[in-house]
Subunit: 209 residues, 2 copies
DNA sequence: TCGGTACCTGTCCAAAAGTACAATGTATGG
DNA sequence: CCATACATTGTACTTTTGGACAGGTACCGA
């Protein structure tokens, strides 16, 4: 797997070279295109010299190329991590991470994982739990749904229209409506918007019929 | 690294054997102690046959031994994932995951990573963002909204109907529609469902007009 | 004062969503 | 074999949404 380092200085740090003898370095995010044209690799983004707005922009730009982006920050902190992970990066570490750790991160990221410092990892899970009222058994109502209803509900949860659902499941729009009526009742929501939110564990103001 | 499968049937599934020729299987969580006394390994927990209360208990018990616990669910879903990750597991996959994927998961977990299906990974980050005051503007489009439009958008984000929004803001339904039209355009969504999802940082299938 | 912007509203219309009532076929378990 | 649940579709109707076209007012900076 190719390793591409984007850094203001344009040269490879020794520790990067140690971690990945084959690593390459470029100065601008724009250069990723050619650099990764052939082999898909991990993009390591050194944001230590950037200002805040530039950080998110760079991450988004790099992520747009489709390769996993690992951010290397000078002073890793929670807020920045959240913002950048949200912009599309799949890794967040210290810019001075040692070679051994870089390799571990690469391993995790290569295999579809997401790497953040252990303490942050815990925070992600904990914070998520604060949003999701962790109904131990998810949505009790969700269990009442039949297989077919669940399929429809999941489509709605992703913003699909009746027509799209009908095509996806190869049934009539009428049938989709039939399923939806049943779903609304079981899930105790009044329309597709509330259903979409409920499916994503987001509470609504007016659950009142 | 030793691989230990905890499963109700007590025997190794072929695909597990394929993924890890050295894998062992036990029936009860309690058996982990002896099985992992010497070599620390990954504990794979098959929860497909468990009821909800048993799931969290098993994960907690297994995690207590200090080894990374990967949960294998029959029907992976967000709520369950949250609950079990919170109970101490570091992985969550489908019980019928193919050998190749199992090995990937093992790689990630071994190196201190946390593995969940890609969609869930995004959710963890997104959900966390709802709790943490986002330093950078999450939705660049959100900034384009005027004060009034933002009010309307927020109502929709919580499942309100046009009539409700009109009453809440003390304006006509017609005006609500006018604001909505502007919002749809700026936020690049096609209807209120997608808007509601977008406002909650949840991606939609069909971003295509 | 002029132009731009936000805000508000109206009428009219078309599409989408949702409900009511009804019917058919399949599968499954007692 | 029958009851029941599920999936499917039909017709018809009401409500909700969203957009097109066409206005008003108020405020603010050039």
């Amino acid at each position: 797997m190719e390793q591409l380092f984007i850094t203001p200085s344009g040269d490879l740090k020794d520790r990067w070279q140690q971690a990945f003898p084959q690593a390459k370095a470029v100065v601008e995010v724009a250069s990723i295109g050619e650099a990764t044209a052939a082999a898909r690799g991990i993009v390591w983004l050194d944001i230590s010299q950037m200002d805040d707005s530039e950080k998110t922009a760079s991450v988004a730009a790099a992520a747009a190329f489709g390769c996993p982006v690992v951010v290397m920050a000078a002073t890793p902190n929670e807020g920045e991590a959240f913002a950048l992970m949200n912009s599309g990066s799949v890794g967040y570490c210290h810019v001075k991470a040692v070679p051994a750790q870089l390799r571990e991160i690469a391993l995790v990221v290569e295999h579809g994982g997401l790497w953040v410092p252990p303490e942050l990892m815990q925070r992600f899970v904990k914070l998520s739990l604060r949003v999701v009222p962790t109904p131990a058994p998810t949505q009790p109502e969700l269990n009442e749904l039949t297989a077919r209803e669940l399929m429809v509900a999941e489509q709605v949860a992703h913003g699909a229209s009746n027509r799209e659902i009908a095509e996806a499941l190869d049934i009539t729009e009428r049938t989709v409506k039939a399923h939806l009526s049943a779903i609304f009742e079981k899930m105790e929501v009044r329309d597709r918007v509330q259903l979409a939110l409920a499916m994503n564990n987001i509470p609504t103001y007016t659950t009142v019929n």
